[in-house]
Symmetry: C2
Subunit: 309 residues, 2 copies
């Protein structure tokens, strides 16, 4: 059987780590002719660590690049800038994702299952059911954790009825009180006290390339925006370095209050006015603004930014 590498995006979050483990489990249980191994493209964050510790599970092997003999299965992303180095040389056999499609092409036909849901794991949950494959307690916990993370405990505007349905069914299979577990898990992810400013901005940073512009939208969850914003100076310094190192046109650092579901954004780079146009609001003197009710990069931040370039 051919070896298949299953992985999510760079700067892995809980959906990416959990969904790659779960997708590999499902692929191995289906008769697709592959031996799937979950891998990852970076360090596991503290929120995901909480999940793996809860399950007494080791994180999967980390890889940094792939070659022409490698067979790949992507989860939770498709854009080249968010994926593994060398992907263009390898063969993508399948994709399971919930994002827009961009900078993705293949030479041969493939499996590509995308749905506009709040979480990749919700699509995986459907695939288990459609293929009548039993879901273990462990896999249910991983999928439930991914949904909690991506939908902020079902409070994000990206959350769909399908995510809610999957959440309820998985809560039962996992035998977990999801409200309590979920809040503890989300809070574990907000602890950035031991991280450098550079680590903080790279916890969950995504690169978008559109109309010749390079934009990064990075996000960090918190229970207290002021607590993160107190590190504003060192964070700005780290962002300026990223902008200069990577030739970025715009960098948005989104500090998201998971309790009150608001975000404060710090904006740097030459194309700052794009953000003002996108949200029809002036930046404060310190280049920040509060976006009330905004918590989703995918649904509330990236589309207006990309549309206003």
């Amino acid at each position: 059987m051919s070896k298949l590498l299953v992985f999510g995006h760079l700067n892995p979050d809980t959906d990416t780590i959990c969904s790659s483990i779960v997708a590999a489990d499902l692929i191995n249980k289906l008769d697709l002719g592959y031996e799937a191994e979950p891998v990852r493209l970076g360090k596991v964050n503290k929120e995901t660590e909480y999940v793996l510790n809860y399950l007494n599970m080791e994180a999967q092997r980390e890889i940094s690049s792939v070659g022409e003999d490698d067979l790949l299965w992507l989860v939770d992303h498709n854009e080249a800038g968010q994926s593994v180095e060398g992907r263009e040389k390898a063969t993508v056999v399948g994709v399971i994702d919930h994002h827009r499609i961009k900078d993705f092409e293949t030479i041969t036909p493939l499996y590509y299952i995308a749905k506009p849901y709040g979480c990749t794991a919700t699509i995986l949950f459907e695939l288990y059911n459609q293929n009548k494959v039993e879901i273990s307690k462990e896999m249910a916990t991983l999928m439930l954790s991914a949904i909690i993370s991506d939908t902020l405990l079902l409070k994000s505007p990206t959350c769909t009825q399908k995510d809610i349905d999957a959440f309820k069914a998985l809560e039962e299979i996992a035998g977990i009180d999801a409200a309590t577990y979920g809040l503890d898990m989300l809070k574990a992810g907000t602890d950035i006290s031991t991280l450098s400013a550079q680590e903080v901005i790279n916890l969950d940073a995504k690169l978008f390339e559109e109309k010749g512009k390079k934009i990064v939208v990075a996000q960090v969850n918190t229970a207290d925006i002021d607590d993160v914003f107190s590190r504003k100076d060192e964070i700005s310094f780290a962002i300026e370095k990223e902008i200069s190192d990577k030739g970025l046109d715009l960098y948005m650092f989104v500090i998201t209050d998971i309790i009150n579901t608001n975000s404060k954004v710090m904006v740097l780079g030459n194309d700052k006015e794009v953000v003002e146009k996108a949200f029809d609001k002036k930046l404060d003197e310190d280049d920040s603004m509060l976006l009330e009710g905004v918590v989703s990069r995918k649904k509330q931040i990236a589309p207006p930014i990309l549309a206003n370039l």
Copy 2:
């Protein structure tokens, strides 16, 4: 409910016409919030006419372009060069396809269901079952016809076990002797006697854009290669006109014997030697060659051509 246009590729074939009608039926029966209408991007060919006549069914409405308010659902294609004019202004809500992915991007997340099967209709058959939607006799006949067409009655190398499974199940639901019906249907498609050379080469022509090159691979089915090849001079003339009108680098006209599953190809354009490299075989003096066992553009022709550019 929002209106949704469901359609397949330019120069529609039987899979494109049937799968767009079937996909619209399925979308309307699911709770997706759309009112789906199947449309088409060109004239119905004689093979597909046979299917629609058998069902006493009118072909769907033809459209030539779309605008920014239109919501689209693509079947049986995704590449911009094979799709509707104005697509970049409209919103693609979903795709059901069995081809490689190329020149396709969106601003927002979408449904994208692709599988490496021989026919789009086989994916649709699975979707009916996964969503527990009953398949009418009419829809079964359309899906069965699409599978017969795309797999040449299960003889094409693109045919997978999933296509065979769907074929058998649909044959039963449709209440048709698929072997007899299928051969009559395929033969109806080979009647090109009333068509001009320009119509013949455009019956099933696909444009590929890769590495700055523009290549068309057109295909026609026949029960007698010599019969089609006797029109070689007027066909060459029509092809030369296409090359000059559209600035093509290469044009392959593939005459496929559906009984013996061979193809004779006529090759024109500046990049003729790409075909010789791709198949490791010299063209005859009349710029043609016989490719034994080759019947599939998608699996046997496009990949080696694109790899040798």
